[in-house]
Symmetry: C2
Subunit: 223 residues, 2 copies
């Protein structure tokens, strides 16, 4: 599948690399490709070094990346989501599956971050309202980037990932990608409203990580 | 141990019965014992029928129940917590472990309920602030009443329960009770501030229950 991954941070890069490894044609979307490639050229952890190591992955402006894709992944920060997706362009998202993996974290007050919105709304719903012609699916926001693309790295993969969205076919498309990553327990929570539950897991996720000393974990729904 | 369970609903009764079965001397606290025993006398699910079936469990006014107890369990509704504990009396809670199992659910807008407070505060913290001389421990609010007292009922008990609180000894006392119920993975999240994470699990808990068709489940932290 032709996939655009919007976001050049750890989450975007990790998803882009994994999707490419699984045979997809991946383009990373950024605001200004020239600036992205010019920043941190000497930094082993910078984008240019990563780009060199992943020559099959393209880099394009948000709108160009989205225009050429069949499926778009939002992997920038939660508070930037509507701005980034606006730059991608509603017309370039219309009729496509839009996988949102971000949590709406506001770090302006320090750590732990606040969730904005929380409880009575969610980023997933905000994105769906802002782009009504896209098929928004919320998933992967309950684990870190490493676990997103390699669930077997924790407990042999015996844990649960959630999907929320209004369109069953879009959720099945995303579930297919998740299975390529190795996810076996993909739990469909229902409509995009259920993204509230996924995003609110963040609060306990942060505390659990602190208690057990690693971000490499997940929860399994035991029933 | 002499334990007061404040609250006569399903959660209060379930905890009271289980604690009594495990050998504790349990008194249920209510606002007006006469009214509680006089209400629904002909109802097989009413408090009087339950009281008859549990003759070793006492019933007393909130303050009397708390005064005679070494450990107090808050098991009324979340929004009533400060009122109920105020009726129990700060002096009767001082120096004691106060186990709060409630979620601050506001159903005034229908289902799903809102959490009030959420994210930047928690009921656990509110209770600790209101009763600074009590040793507040938040736990059990992430599962339903049946699972609270019988974790083996789900997946052989292979799942996780959380404790939050500022006093390590108080958390260990609560963990001891949890182990009596059969909990094996008791995860100490840290101070009472971490109650935010536990309470916010409620949002996804409701959606998971809807998706899998039962409230008899829990999450296991896989690491």
């Amino acid at each position: 599948m032709k996939i655009a991954v919007l976001g050049t941070g750890t989450v975007g890069r990790t998803l882009a690399a994994a999707l490419s490894e699984h045979g997809h044609e991946v383009t990373v979307g950024t605001r200004d490709p020239g600036a992205t490639l010019g920043r941190g050229a000497a930094d082993p952890n910078g984008y240019p070094a990563w780009q060199t190591a992943h020559p099959r992955i393209g880099l394009a402006a948000f709108a160009d990346a989205a225009a050429g894709a069949e499926l778009v992944v939002h992997a920038s920060s939660g508070l930037a989501a509507l701005d980034v997706l606006g730059a991608a362009g509603a017309a370039n998202l219309a009729g496509k599956v839009l996988l949102d993996v971000a949590n709406p974290l506001d770090f302006s007050g320090g750590f732990p971050p606040r969730l904005v919105p929380v409880d009575t709304d969610s980023l997933g719903e905000q994105v769906q309202r802002a782009f009504p012609d896209a098929y928004v699916v919320k998933s992967l926001c309950t684990v870190n980037a490493a676990v997103m693309v390699d669930p077997a790295k924790v407990g042999g993969g015996e844990h649960t990932i959630f999907v929320s969205g209004d369109d069953p076919a879009a959720k099945e498309t995303v579930a297919g990608l998740l299975r390529e990553f190795g996810w076996r327990d993909v739990l469909d929570l229902g409509g995009i409203e259920t993204a509230r539950g996924q995003e609110m897991m963040l609060s306990n996720w942060l505390r659990i990580a602190s208690a057990i000393g690693t971000y490499d974990f997940n929860v399994k729904v035991v029933r």
